[in-house]
Amino acid sequence: MSATAIEKELKPDPLLTTPPPHEAQSQEPELRNSVEWSDSIFSHLKELGHHLELLQLTTQRELKIRYKQTALGAVWAVLQPLSLMLVFGIFFSYFAGMKGDAGMPYALFSYTGLLSWTFFSTALSFAIPSLITNSYVITKIYFPREIVPLSCVLAAFVDFLVAAVIFVGLLLFYHNEITINWNIFFVIPLMAIQLLFTIGVSFFLSAFTVLYRDVRYAMPLVIQVWMFATPILYSATKVKEKSETLYTVYMTLNPMAVIIDSYRKCIIQGLTPDLKFLGIAATISVLLVLASYKYFKHLEREFADLV
């Protein structure tokens, strides 16, 4: 075959002749990947913003693969907190005679706690080992790594919303025994705070797991202990009755306790949550997200070498 024949065969690609848009923008080589590479949260957020579609796709992927080849599919999202509620209802309420907050059916009381706790613990159990389980991509292609744990948290959040449908059903079922008023709109900032707090913990622990695999094994235990330190099966007022100081420490140090207690107050009792503790929890969540994001991005450069 002659050279001219080859020339004809390899026509320029029509899609290639138009220069990609990014080339028009940046003519000078931009500084990146160097040791002095920008470390500001804003530049990280800006980059994450460019990858929102990827975040959406990976979240969808998380959900899809979780329920692929399962007969019940997304029903599992509901089944988990629901079955726990039934079990706790039978053992703690019926046999042990435990009570929730005043004027609250125990089923509704425990489901509120279990629903938000399931979101938290599911998110953590998927997000913490996520960088290691995704090492096959991390060592091969670049993308902002926070997308990996973030998509785990978001997928758990979608599960949470699905399971919340049952919660709405329970509210309707018990509507005569509870008080619903405008305070129910506290749910929105509460969900935002819980989401932030979960993301903060996930960023920190998923990055830390890359350094120390111990976290993976310690986590189930920690989550269990944390669950008992959170008013899920018992009422936070029980702690308050024991000691006022203990209650303050308890509510200050554990944002999950504040969040779950506040959910119950604003949805079921029609009360305003304790704004002092809620403010502390919100502050902790915001600071935690900022600090752990910074920590995550700092360690990110070593991920491919370590996973």
């Binding site: 075959m1 002659s2 050279a3 080859i6 390899l10 320029p12 690609d13 899609l15 290639l16 002749t17 990609p20 990014h22 080339e23 940046s26 003519q27 000078e28 080589p29 931009e30 500084l31 990146r32 990947n33 160097s34 040791v35 002095e36 590479w37 460019h50 990858h51 579609e53 990827l54 796709l57 990976t58 992927r61 899809k64 693969i65 692929k68 080849q69 096959y136 991509v137 991390i138 060592t139 091969k140 292609i141 670049y142 993308f143 890359v210 350094l211 120390y212 695999r213 111990d214 450069r301 070593e302 491919a304 070498d305 370590l306 996973v307």
Partner: protein, 428 residues
């Protein structure tokens, strides 16, 4: 204008820190460091994967990276791809970088081919709409129309790789990084991949690629960089750097096994044996049927080639080879003394090996020729002269077709024709 600039880039690994450790190990290490005797050990187990590499890649250029295994080629590509970060130095890149470090690396086994195309495209930095626009072309290229809605885990490894390359070859980055992925798939798909890379190259894309396939490197690259032990040893014209690479590989071998012998008797030849070469090809010359030196013959003519060699050590069981390449770099013929030649037991000093051919078979054209001198069964040749010699072939006994064959024609007498016919009949 440079699109990629590396300024004194180093990447080190701590040998003891490879892989992650548990808190217990970490504490043990910290305790050990507290003891005065083990002080200063920290630096000793540091390993330079890359050391102070300076490099600039121009827009639209294709640069090949060659070097022995573990020399740092892949580390360099991973740095450019932002998968890993340098310990020292700066890397400047203008525009997006797409890496083909491993074909199909972003695929998730549980998702279908279709879902994976979108996910992989998105990881590579493409917008959904962009992927949708190119979707049909990607599927067509991969030849996977039938299985596009099957989960990727049911794919064969060949199918996996085909789809992976198809997506990666249709993204439109400013810089494309390719690491040894041309060696995948069957021969048909391999040539398709190479053709696609050639297309992208002609389309003005900047490409950096790592390969051990020297003919491919030579054909595809504008410049070649030779990396050894984490250092950039040379960058320049493909031919020159590739032959330097072969020489260096030999040198490394020599320094470990033949050092003792090499210290004596080679003072005069010290200039030519700079790379520790044991033998080299000095020239390849062609002669026509009349015995005159020439660079032009006609198809079907008699041809004689003489390979002039020199050895610095006695070489046993040598093999001479000549490879004829067409202008578009297709290998047309490979002649080797290993198959057709008279056995050459050993080569002392200097001499000539002659190759005789009555009725030269290649069709008209200009051929570039590799001369190779190696040891039988060895991968690294003593000497390789890539595309160093040129032979022009004019139309002669053959006018059309791919090649000429020596032939005899004769008319059979009538009686013989009959016997042939009856033999055919019994066969039928």
């Amino acid at each position: 204008m440079s699109i990629v600039v590396l300024d004194k880039v180093s990447k080190t690994y701590r040998l003891s820190r490879l892989g992650s450790k548990s808190i217990r190990e970490e504490m043990a290490r910290m305790m050990k460091n507290l003891l005065p005797s083990s002080k200063g050990q920290a630096g000793s187990d540091e390993f330079y994967a890359l050391k102070e590499v300076d490099l600039a890649i121009e827009r639209g250029e294709t640069v090949g990276f060659i070097g022995p295994n573990g020399s740092g080629k892949s580390t360099l590509l991973k740095l450019l791809a932002r998968i890993i970060y340098p310990n020292h130095g700066k890397i400047m890149v203008s525009g997006s970088v797409a890496s083909l470090i491993e074909v199909g690396a972003g695929f998730h086994p549980e998702l279908t081919g279709r879902e994976n195309i979108f996910l992989y495209g998105s990881i590579m930095g493409m917008k959904k709409a962009e992927v949708a626009k190119k979707f049909d072309r990607i599927v067509e290229f991969s030849e996977m129309e039938k299985f596009i809605d099957t989960p990727v885990k049911r794919y064969s490894s060949g199918m996996y790789v085909r789809l992976g390359f198809a997506v990666a070859a249709h993204i439109n980055p400013a810089v494309l990084l390719v690491d040894e992925v041309l060696a995948v798939g069957d021969a048909n798909f391999q040539s398709k991949c190479q053709q696609r890379i050639e297309e992208l190259r002609r389309g003005g894309m900047t490409i950096a690629f790592v390969s051990h396939d020297m003919p491919a490197v030579e054909r595809l690259c504008d410049r070649v960089a030779f990396i050894s032990k984490g250092e950039l040893r040379a960058i320049g014209k493909p031919q020159e750097v590739i032959s330097l690479y072969y020489n260096e590989v030999l040198f490394a071998k020599k320094s470990s096994t033949h050092l003792a012998q090499n210290t004596t008797g080679l003072a005069i030849e010290s200039k030519t044996s700079l790379y520790g070469r044991e033998a080299e090809i000095l020239s390849v010359k062609f002669y026509n049927g009349e015995g005159q030196e020439t660079d032009t013959i006609a198809t079907g003519d008699d041809l004689t080639a003489r390979i002039h060699y020199r050895t610095y050590n006695t070489i046993t069981d040598p093999v001479f080879e000549m490879l004829f390449y067409s202008p578009d770099d297709r290998l047309y013929s490979h002649l080797t003394t290993a198959i057709n030649g008279a056995a050459i037991p050993s080569l002392p000093g200097e001499g000539i090996v002659q190759f005789d051919c009555s009725e030269f078979g290649l069709s008209p054209g200009v051929y570039k020729i590799d001369g190779i001198l190696s040891k039988r069964g060895s991968v690294a040749p003593y000497d390789l002269k890539p595309r160093q010699y040129i032979l022009k072939v004019l139309p002669g006994k053959s006018v059309r077709g791919m090649f000429y064959m020596p032939q005899q024609w004769r008319l059979l007498p009538p009686t013989e024709t009959l016997t042939v016919q009856s033999a055919d009949a019994t066969l039928g």
